[in-house]
Subunit: 289 residues, 2 copies
């Protein structure tokens, strides 16, 4: 049996009881390491926290391993219980369909245990999930590669009054160009796109096409570390959000479409104005003490 | 502190460890009872299962209670820790924004604990979540009320090649028309729309407009009890799905847009053909025994 288990967005405590039960039944536990492990703090002692809580040794599986050694994982799953842990929900990202398909072809029973993903957790800002159009991905621009197919999609969503969720690029374990030329793989340090970079790229593309899909006054909502204890959610114009330091990754961005009054009222709790006001109030309270 | 805690889709074991910790810290635990409690089997002994696992007495809060007694819930939350449990993710449905907003206005700190919702769990069928357009709701038609604003939205999604998630109507604790006339509220038995009813209504509206947004040969995916141990997922044309008995609620439906080959390959695992084939194979195995 192959259990594909979503870990949710925050930390090791965001696994479900059902998920934890499944992990504890498994002989081998793999964990995908090619989208984001940040919130699980694996670079320091996170892995051992996970292993302690889950009571199992965890084998980190990066993209190469999953692609090259999928057969090994699946052969194990044919003989015994194997868990494959995924940050967020198993199908929030596109990368896991392949493993499931190969499993099914080999006759391995697959059981999926769901969890929260960015795709539904953005609902917390008050914009209704059924008022979102197509989701877009914003890739890191390089000097020679500046793909902008997201522009047309955002434009279409906005014409329809729909909100747009922008997923921001994550580059983990990318072989460096230099190392590829030398024929010996070495990896770039991981990179996570910030909301600031995303907005700069968005405005650059708007300037290129000039079709007013959006502009620096368009209302957006920026999220960092969504679902964690220290998440930040700020609503404001693109221009305003450019001035905000959202801190550590992961970031994502919603470009707001036409809003319902209830949505406006909720967004109002996340405006910069409100944040500053609360800060001032806190400062006043401190003064009074 | 007001904890708004998503319970996920399956049963009581789909709460996260973080959610369970929060429930156990709370003095009062409310549970929304106006969307769906089916999978939690509350009509029989489910509530006590929940109460046993969570170690807390649970106060069922229907729509009326939340609307009329929100102040009571919020006053409690100002003085102590209060949990409000919601099936799925807190913001998968639209109905909880109001409580959050009132809490924030009263200065009650709100903490949201996310979980899976239908909006992301449908990803399990292999259709990529970022290829969905606007989500639609299909309401129960009555003799005199047949709202069909979903038609235009589906049409638009399909023109863009996008998939459409159709959320099917749930009628819980609806006062009967008769009782309203008599001025004494009595409630209709709960009703949950089946995939079959949804498809019949969809085809009726297509016939009315005749704009070929879809037809009985359009590929769809039907889901029942998504996220539960006994979930059913079947892919087929509208016509084919009309012949399928999806069993107990909740049901939902995806109208498939333009597919990527990988999506096709995954959907193929859920076709009726495949189901029948597996059934025949099982029967053969039984014969051989």
């Amino acid at each position: 049996m192959l259990y594909i288990i979503g870990l949710g967005l925050g930390d090791e405590r965001d696994i479900t009881l059902r998920g934890l039960e499944a992990v504890k039944k498994c002989d081998k536990v793999f964990m995908e390491a090619y989208t984001s492990l940040l919130s699980f703090g694996l670079s320091s002692n996170g892995l051992s926290t996970l292993e302690e809580l889950y009571g199992r040794q965890i084998i980190l599986a990066d993209r190469e391993m999953v692609e090259e050694r999928a057969d090994y994982i699946l052969l194990e799953a044919r003989e015994s219980n194997v868990a494959f842990l995924i940050v967020g929900d198993p199908f929030g990202a596109t990368t896991h369909t392949d493993l499931v398909m190969r499993a099914k072809k080999l006759g391995v029973v697959v059981k999926v245990i769901h969890n929260a993903s960015v795709m539904n957790a953005v609902g917390v800002c008050g914009l209704q999930l059924y008022r979102y159009g197509e989701t877009v991905s914003i890739p890191f621009f390089t000097e020679t590669w500046r793909p902008d197919s997201f522009y047309e999609k955002i434009q279409r969503n906005r014409e329809l009054g729909l909100h747009t969720l922008c997923l921001l690029d994550i580059r983990v374990k990318e072989p460096s160009l230099e190392s590829l030329c030398r024929g010996r793989k070495q990896y770039e340090p991981p990179r996570y796109m910030t909301i600031n970079i995303a907005i700069e790229q968005l405005l650059e593309v708007e300037q290129k096409y000039g079709e007013s899909a959006y502009n620096e006054d368009t209302t957006c909502v920026g999220f960092s570390r969504l679902g964690s204890e220290d998440q930040i959610i700020v609503s404001g114009s693109m221009k305003e959000l450019l001035t905000v330091d959202f801190g550590a990754p992961l970031h994502c961005l919603v470009i707001v479409g036409k809003t319902h009054p209830v949505e406006d009222e909720m967004l109002d709790f996340y405006t910069l104005k409100r944040e500053e006001q609360e800060l001032r109030e806190k400062e006043c309270l401190t003064c009074l003490k």
